[in-house]
Each structure stands twice: as structure tokens, then as C-alpha cells.
Symmetry: D2
């Protein structure tokens, strides 16, 4: 994995700055003959797109994606399909509001990457966050839309499960609620509460953190690999690599520190086709989050990640400028009071990309699926 | 990163099974002319070595490392130094207790990787956990001992901060205590408590989880890279990739979900040489854990990870065998009641390897350090 | 190195098809603060551009490059410089002549990749060669223009040294002639001859092969690495990977098979500053082409590669169609009678990219240059 | 590909110096359930082993390989098979003749890598060539023995086709002769001639170059990939990376520079099962060496490479020492008068590794083979 490339066999390379002419990505290693239309990708970009409620930045970006390469009309089916060549996806920036940057271009905003970019590279594009802007994540969502089509039968969904100290009631989890509120919240009652709560945060010029959960269902057993290509290791790297993420858990996560071996063990029962599990063993629980020894068990893959509050707040903070002087700084302009919200489709995309990559890597090394259970000789 | 290789410029590849003739690793990309002796490596292996207290597995392995290549006598200094060639480190297995495997070779132990290895590869070496055994982590510790010598001035230390529901008192943190108790616990009083607590767990044939914290000091600002080579992303992948780890946090981690932007911001003040910070800005807090935008700030890098309880317990659990039949299983034999303990030197090693790799990658792309603060033109 | 990515620390990923909307590349790992303008890149693209003489395809493509990201105004110098972020270079296709593809879309042209793409992927974009078109090499030349700026003091130049059976007279080699004739030929007299010779080939509807030599001067000693990152191995891979190349040599190449050890040895003399070699030893010959043990010696790096004749010819050949039937095929339309000509700037670009990558990799692993000669203790 | 690692999905990492305790490799990414015994590997090591005739170095190394990991007894078949885990192969050095190195340790031998290692790393292990010794190639041959078992039905064979200016008569090519003479020469008459010829070279204390040809048969169409993972590009990199190789050709190689498009085109005819080509088209020639557009055509893959004469000769050459003084040097001791001979099994091994890697990469990206010819809709 290089600086701006994610993945191994299925991989994508992103480019672009917040206020440059465009952002986008090149997806490489995609299998051929997968039907792919602009709509397949646009659907997921629209879920991430800012400016759709008062709870996200008011920057207006249509995030209209163009497929620039790698797709061709398949004569047999009459539809556009991937060809195995790299797929370049281009998203033009249209709302790079021209403004006076003199206030922020020399002063570091605490919690932003301005200082670290400067100390590493000697300069940085400060306009709208430049390369560090969350706009880069649109390219991830676009790549993820392709990844979702690679593992047959796989579904990846995400939801916001905590905002500030307020957790949802997991007993009330309803996936169909997620797209009905501006928070991707699966608990309708809590979504109502978040509306009021976040309005308060927003109006005070402050911001708040959140926890997101992403779940992949229909993932075949056997994906991942022991040691340094563990599915959980790669997921953790992918999710921690999303802007503003500070923690990642798989399955029961940090709670396992408090558990006994008995409580944590996911017991197994023999395959039971009436449970629709297709010849595979039945697990009586999923504390492991669908991964054992770095390899998928066939259960749902479950991960959570914590998103810190935006550092862009209206209150003045102490800082320094790039010339080494003390200063005060206050971030004006458009921002998200809870960046965790829009992290939901991004988390889904990263999980889909990790799983697509491992699906291809597994097929490469091992080929056809093993015929479990084995026959006794 | 391939299946059994970790890292990019500084990288190591491990090999070996728990009950094979040996385990070890090949370290590649190490800079030349770094003094390196067996003792440098053995010191850290001895910290991880089992059988040193009643709280770890009673398997007796001296874990004596041999340097098989990549080191040569430097005439100028008269000491053995790295040559830039690959360094092969070999650790022979000596206590592969021969025993009857008929009980476990066909039955999966809940929480172990036996089922996922079988369903992926069609077979697995079940003796002592085979490739999935924690013995593989000795090779990581050995590689980490070399990594520690690469970043000038860097120190990486770790400690156990929670066992079961019991957290240490951070106000009592004393690094000098860590090597004085069998738990790597920095709080002397809590170490006493853990002794009794873990004896109870052990005698009941059960096991318990833990939380480990690793801290790197003396890390220069500017290591890491935005987007897909983020320092926090790579650390999360590395730590989650340790056996039995289920959660990773950087800095304030999951607690940031509950914080406001004001509370989470690490304010900055101008360089103050009386504080010994060498021309770099002073941060008034370190909620970020030393990383902003994926790049080190120059503060201490702080990460925590949760280790689940061992699945090897004396109590019977429901399972299936590899032929698809229901079964009961109980793990006899040597095991760790709290595998989290020995994860301390392993976590240190993985953090050291990530930082050494990023130190070299940064030097490759950027070269000499930037002269911050900049001069105003 | 993945399917469409070249390089390790300095790397680029290309995309686009001959008759799609655009081609281009994303350059990643470029050091920051390197001055970079459109003109720096356009200059080299113009040398490769088709339609400039009657000896190359008449397709009219301005090959106008746009820098879409990764460059920002440096306040200190007032010029545009790289930022360390990925640099996306976009070249729009403007002369995708619409035509009737019914003749070739189902029939394979011998020597073209149509059959192998089809048998691998199940379909291919047949318009103008699709992804297999030489248009993709424009993206390489663009990336190479950036690579040239990375190794201080390095110059990479190329020349055509053979067309068909006709070799240039190496005693008449004059670099200043190379850009004065349409063949990049360093021997003015031979260039005159080639004009007539290639006109004959062109008019007969045939094509002819060529040999290209590329030379890098000013390359510091010590770049490359033993074993699997050898400079010569990487150069061979890079040059053989150019469309239509069938052979690669370093230094004396295949001629060394006929040489004795005495003749092949490049003898050395002590540093002689009057020869301007800056404290490094003087080599009395350069049979090795500037590389020993995979590492640069400080002499000129010299490589040659053979380019096969275009398979696109006006004479009918026997073939099959994609449905498994016998057929005859003839390629109408625009083509190059000697594709080797335009391979000159492409070969230069690939050599520059290999050297830039190794420059950064060397700096990463080893850091500062070694102070050779050593002091005797 | 890193410094000491070769390949992508199927990959191996080598270690060890000529006069250290051992050399060897770690093979990673090998598919599981492939039968593998020591004999499978030893057979090929024995072909490369020195000291078997007066035409190779008299160093006596049994090159006895041990499989240290990655293989386990398969209960179903009762044979040892790969498990998917890394396979470490260890070859101990036994004939590191202790001798006085004072003559060569400070003086560079022209044509050797001593100077470039020194200028790069600041020191090198001069004993027997250290890491630059041809002993490292034993590890390649061992890895290649595993690679040969990965592509079903594939055979890789090599032969010496030229020594000094003397080429074999290709009309007399008989594969069964190759293992009957000490030169791997497929032309029995020429093998006789080489015996006398090389004796003359050897007795004069000189050395001579050679050309080797390697051929892979039974390679399915569709392996390789366009652009930067071309099969020919990867083969060229792999073969040029063998010690002392200075040129590589695929198919007709440099001769294509002199050919017309008509002569170079490999015409095709429809599948003809009487020719045993299994539903695939019949090619009427193989100028391309089995590769078009970087992808295998299903024909034999043919490559040749030139090996320079050993620089270790008994005649005195001018050189410098590591302290920058002029000196004379003469190489005493054991050496090969024609290192090209032993390059035959090494070339085979590298070709097998490239093909095994591409076989897995293709299976990863594309999955099942395409059903060519297509059905017309």
C-alpha cells in the first residue's frame, strides 16, 4: 500500500484537493465483465454528499461522477461492463467558494493537519483543507461502489450508533430506518432525539463525536489470511485511516477485555439447512464479529469506529502560526457539527473495498472454495 | 504487504509453526552500519518468553535467537553491524511436548482459528496451534528489536492498563514498575491486586481479557503520510493484527465520541527551548495521541488495544468436528489465563516496526527534515 | 507493482483507452517543493506526439496535459511546486476518428493483443487498440517528465541506433543531431538514409523494427540494490514493458556472451579530480553499462531495446475471428511504419522513472551518501 | 517487490551470504494442498550444484535443503502437502573454506560488485562474494521447484545455446541431450566441442560468456496483464536480475528489429483438435515467444538471456582499493570459467516463479478461464 493507493489485488488510487479542479480515483484490478453504470456509483455518492440537511456542511457539491475508462459495451448482454482495465472516476469540484484565506493560511487550527503537513512537506494547500479535506472521501465511496459488486451476495451497511454520550437502543435496531433520517440512525426514536441534540451543538458553534457501526453480510467463510493479512487487521487499518477516526473495534471489541473465556467463546453447532446456512456450521453467538485468526467465519463481519468531533469550531483556540509565533484562531465558514454522520457511507465503502480485495486474494491463492465439511477417510 | 510480510521499506517476513523445528523471520530493508548483537534482540525476546511466572503458559522455550545473515564485522568500529542485506533470525523450538492430539485434531475449539484455517485451506497444522500459535509473535518481537534501533532517539514502551474490569490508576503510573511485576503493570498497587485476581481466574480454569497501552517517545514530527499510509491507520492495522486483539485506539480513542471540539482540540504555543522541545511548537494537551492527519506531531505516540480472553479454557464448550458433527470440547494442557500480559512486548514491537518503516519512507520521499518554523519573506 | 501501477516509492498509475474521453496518470510519492509547470511536461509529450512527420501515424492529437492536483503556489519562491500529494495528469483524446469498426471488431490482427485480451478478460475495447494502444505511453512520458526532476544533476537521453538491418555509425554519434531529424537519430548521415529507406517501407504498406539506446548521465553511484531490486533488472522490466519491445540489453549486452573476462572487465583507477569525477574512482571502460551487482557505479547507465515492426500493415494475413472461424484480415487506417521511432522518448521516460524510484528508495534505506573513499584506521 | 523479495501473490524472500552459516528462502502465497517433498526441491538444486564437473567451481556444497515450515501431513492422501503457510527452505553452507582474505578484502575486483556495495552501504561482506555470491541463486532454484508445481501441466526447461561466439545448431536440438553433458547443451555434437573449448578457456585462467534459452510449455493463454504487469516485462526483470546477465530477449528478440511486419506476424488458424490444442486457435509461427500485449497466447513461452564472462580470472587487472589508491588485483581460488552454464536451472526457476505468480494473479482477478471461442449472439 502506497501513500495514496489502497488495497492489493483490488486497489484504488485517489487524487485531488478540496479546491482544485477535481477529485477522483483510479480503480485497478477489478474483475472483467461486471455490469457497471454511473448510477451504481452515484447512488452511494449521493448518500455521502454534503449540503443535504442542516447537519452537514452547506458546501453544495453535486458530486457527479464520470466514468473515464475501463468500461465497455458488452455485445452479449448489451450492457456496459468492466473490461479488467483501470477505471478512472472523475468528480469535478464546483463549489470552491472563493474567499479570503489570509486569516487561516498562516495559522494552524488545533486538531487540523495543517501543522503536520507543513512540518513534513514544507508547505500545504490550505484552501478548504486541501488534500486533508473530507472531500477525498468521495473518491473512496466511489471506489467502494465498485467493490460492492465483486463479492457475490455480499451486502455492506452502516449506521450511527452513538453521538456524544448518547447511544442508540440496540433492541430497536431497524435497518429500514437508516435512510429515513439525516443521521443514518437505525433507532427511530433516537434519531428524533439527535435532531434536537445536534441542533444545540450546531447553534453553540461547537461539534461532537460519534460512533459508527458497519456490518457486512453474505461474506463467505475463508476470506482473509493469518498473520499480516488478517481481515481484522486490514479492516482496522482501513477504518482508522478515515479522517477523524480515533478508535476501531471488531465484534465485541474493547468489551472483550472484561470478559471471561467462557463468555467470549462463540459455540458451534452442526450445519442445519433449515437455518439457511448452506452446509456451514451454526455459531450460537458472534462475539468475534465474524473473524477468527484473521479469517472470516461466514458470520456477519461487524466493526465499529469512533469519530472525533470536528476541530472546525466557532470558538477561539490558542495556536501558533507557521513562523513560530503565538496566535489565536477561530474557524469561520461551512463545517459539519458532527462529521461522524457522513462517515457512515465512507465506513461502508472501506469495508467493501477490504472484503473485495480479500475475495480476489483468496481466489488467487486458494482457488475454488474448500468442500467443508470434510469426508472422513 | 503480503500474507506473511509486514511493512514496506523496513519489512519482515515470518515463518514457522508452534511444533515445527523452528520459527523466525527475515528482516529486509534495514539501513546498513547499525550495530547489532544477539543480546540486543534476546533482551526483548526474554521479556515475551513464556514460563517465567505462573501467569503464563508453562511451555519452556529459551527462545534463543541466532543471527543467520546480514551482519558483518565493521573494521572501523570493531563491532558487528548490519550490512543492508536481509537479516535472518532463527529461533528453534525445543519444548514441543509430544502428546496425543487425537482429542483436538478433529474438533474445533470455539474462539480458535482451527475452523477458519480448515475452511480456507482444507487442512491445518493443529499441533500447538500451528501457524496460529502465539509463538509466531516471538519473530515479531525479534524484528521489533531491530526496528527500535532505526529511529534515532526513539523509545517505545508498553504497559498493561486494564485486566478484566479493573483499570489501573493513571495517576500512579510509574514506568519503573513495569518490569518489576509479572503483568507489565505501571501501578504497583494494582499489580499486587492483579496477582490475586489472576490466580483466581487461573484456578477456575477460566481466562480474562486485558487492555495494553504502548507509547513511543522521541518520534520526530512529520512521520506518516496522509490518506492510505496514515501513521494511525498503519498502527491500527499492526496492533489489530496481533493474535486475540479486538480493538485499537489512538490518543483519546473511543472517548472522543463523547467530546466536544473544544475539549478535543490540542492547543499550541510557540517553541520554548526551556521546555526542551527543540524549536518545535508546544502542545498544551495530547488528545490526538501524537498524530494529526495521519502524520506525527512530535508528541508521544499513544495507542491502546484490547486483548480478548484466551479461548483455551478448562470448561467444556459446544462445538463441531471437521466432519460436520456436533461435539463437546475442553482444552487441556498449558495455556495463558490472560494472554494480554505477553502482548505488551509484542505491541511495543509492532509499534516500533511501524515507526521504523515510516521513518525510512519519509526519508525516501522527503529527505532532510523541513526547517520549521519558516522564515517570513 | 500492480497491473497499472509502475514503481515503488516514486510510482505512477495510468488509465484510459485510445478512443475513450481521456488518458492520463496519477504520480504518487513525488518529493515536495519541486518546481513543476505544464511546460515541463508538455515539452516531452510534444516529442512523442504523433502526426509530426509522415513517418508516424497521422492521428492528430495535441496531447495537451493538464495538472489536476498535487501542485501549489510556493509563497517563498513564487512558483508552482509539488506538495507531496498525488499529481494527476490528464490528457484528453480529441481525434478519436469515428469509423466503421465492423471489419476489425471480431477479427484478430496477428501480432496484436486482441486475442489475448479476449481470452483473458472475455471482451476488449477494440476501438483504436483500446487499452493496448500506444496512446497509453503518453502517460508514461508525462510521468517521466516529473521523474527527470527528482535526481539532481541527472540527464536522460535516447536515440534510435538501428532501423531494420541498418545500424548507425557510433563514431558519428552527435547528441545535437537527435532532435534535428524525425528519427531521433544521432548520426546525421544515417538520418538522411533512413528518410528514404522508411519512405520505401511506408509506401509498400509494410513496417520495420528498430533498436533504441537510452543513456542516463549524472546518476550517483549506489542506486539500485542487490538481488530482486537490481537496477538492471528493474530497467529491463521497464523497457521490455513498453509496447512492441522484444529485447533489452545493458552495457555490452548480448555481445558479452562472446567476450572473455579480461575484455569485459572495466578496470579502475584512483579518483582524479582533473577528470571531474568528484572523488570517485575512474573507470577505464564501461562494458557494464554503469551497473555492477545491480547497483550504479557512477558511470553512464546505458541500455538498448529492440522494437518489433508494427503488426498493422496493409497486406492481408491469415487469422481467426472471436467465434473460432478462419478469416483474412488487413489493417487499414493510420499507423506508424516504424513504431520504434516514437519509442525514444518513451524509453527515456521509463529509464527516468526507474532511476527516480531508486533514488528515493536508496535515500530511504541508506540516507546520506557514504563518504567513499574510506579512511584507513 | 522489495529488495530481497521476488513476486507478488506467489513470492519468495531470500537470505544468506556465501560464507555465513546458511542461505535459504521463505516462500509465501503458495496454494495449499500441493504435495511437496524434499526430493521435489533437491532434484533441481542438484542440477545447479557446483563441483560436479571440472567446468564449474570446485567448492563442494551438498546444497541439502530442509523444509522448515509450511508443510503438513494430509490425512486424506497420507502425503506431505503445503498448508498455505510460509515455507522456509534452509540450505546450510558447509564448504566455506577458511582462507586469507587480506589480498582481496580491500581491493575491488573489476566486474565484481565490491565497489558498488561499498559505495552504497559503507561496507560489505567480502568473504566469497558475500551476498553478491552466486550461492544466493540456490535459494531461487529451491523456490522455483515449488513454483513448478503450481501451474497445472506446465513444464519449464532450459538449455545453453551459445558459448563465446559458438552457437548450437538449432536443427539438432534434442531436449534429451541436455542432462547428458555438463553444459546443459541440447546439441550433442556441440557439447563435445564445448568440452574442448572450455578446457582451453579454463587452462588459460580466463573466462567466457554464454547465452541460455528457457522455454515454458503448457502455459494457459491469458496469463500476464497489460501495461505494468506484462508477462514479458516481468520475465525480463526476473532474468536480467540473475547474476551476470546483461541481455534478455523474448521470442525473436533483437532479430525483430530487422524484420518486416509481414515476417513478424504470427498468423492464426481456427482450433483444430487433431493438433491437440484444446479448442484454442492454431498459430502458424511463434515469433512472439508466446506473449502478445503482455499476455500469454497459449504457445510456448520462449526467452533467452546473455551471461557475461566471470570477472574472476587469473590475469592481473588494474583497480583501486577502498581507500582510494591504485592497485593491481588477481583473483585466485575456485571459480567457474563459464558461469552461464549453471545459469540454466536458475533461468528455469525464475521463469517458473514468474509464471506461477501470474497464474495466481490471473485467477485472483479473473477467476475461471474464459470460454473462448465465444458464441455469436
Amino acid at each position: 500500500m502506497s501513500f495514496n493507493t489502497f488495497g492489493h489485488l483490488f486497489r484504488f488510487t485517489t487524487f485531488g484537493e478540496s479546491h482544485g479542479p477535481a477529485i477522483g480515483c483510479v480503480v485497478d484490478g477489478c474483475p472483467p465483465r461486471i455490469p457497471l453504470s454511473v448510477e451504481d456509483i452515484q447512488h452511494h455518492l449521493d448518500r455521502r454528499r454534503p449540503g443535504q440537511s442542516r447537519f452537514t456542511t452547506q458546501r453544495q457539491e453535486p458530486d457527479a461522477v464520470k466514468i473515464m475508462s475501463g468500461v465497455f459495451r458488452d455485445e452479449a448482454s448489451g450492457t456496459d461492463v468492466t473490461t479488467g482495465a483501470p477505471i478512472m472516476l472523475l468528480i469535478e469540484n464546483v463549489d470552491q467558494r472563493s474567499k479570503d484565506y489570509s486569516e487561516i493560511k498562516d495559522k494552524y487550527r488545533p486538531g487540523h493537519a495543517g501543522y503536520t503537513y507543513d512540518v513534513k512537506y514544507g508547505l500545504h494547500d490550505y484552501r478548504g483543507g486541501g488534500r486533508a479535506s473530507a472531500r477525498e472521501t468521495a473518491a473512496r465511496v466511489a471506489a467502494g461502489a465498485i467493490a460492492r459488486k465483486i463479492v457475490p451476495g455480499m451486502t455492506v451497511r452502516g449506521a450511527l450508533v452513538q453521538m456524544g454520550p448518547h447511544k442508540i437502543d440496540r433492541a430497536k435496531w431497524d435497518w429500514s430506518e437508516v435512510d429515513k433520517n439525516p443521521f443514518f440512525c437505525p433507532d427511530a426514536k433516537m434519531a428524533k432525539f439527535f435532531e434536537e441534540y445536534l441542533d444545540g451543538v450546531r447553534k453553540s458553534g461547537s461539534s461532537i463525536g460519534a460512533v459508527i457501526e458497519v456490518v457486512a453480510e453474505g461474506v463467505p467463510a475463508g476470506l482473509g489470511a493469518p498473520i499480516y493479512a488478517k481481515l481484522d487487521g486490514d479492516l482496522a487499518g482501513a477504518l482508522m485511516g478515515i479522517n477523524a477516526v480515533k478508535g476501531v473495534e471488531i465484534g465485541d471489541g474493547f468489551a472483550t477485555a472484561t470478559m471471561s473465556g467462557e463468555d467470549n467463546a462463540d459455540e458451534m453447532r452442526k450445519p442445519d439447512r433449515t437455518l439457511g446456512n448452506d452446509g456451514k456450521p451454526v455459531f450460537l453467538s458472534n462475539h468475534a464479529g465474524g473473524i477468527l485468526g484473521g479469517i472470516s467465519t461466514g458470520q456477519a463481519i461487524v466493526a465499529r469506529f469512533a469519530v472525533k468531533p470536528t476541530s472546525s469550531i466557532l470558538n477561539t483556540r490558542k495556536t501558533v502560526d507557521r513562523y513560530g509565533n503565538d496566535a489565536d484562531v477561530m474557524t469561520k465558514g461551512r463545517h459539519d457539527p458532527c462529521v461522524g454522520i457522513r462517515a457512515v457511507p465512507i465506513g461502508e465503502a472501506m469495508m467493501a473495498c477490504v472484503l473485495a480485495d480479500h475475495f480476489l486474494r483468496h481466489r488467487g491463492q486458494v482457488g475454488e472454495a474448500t468442500a467443508w465439511p470434510f469426508e472422513k477417510k
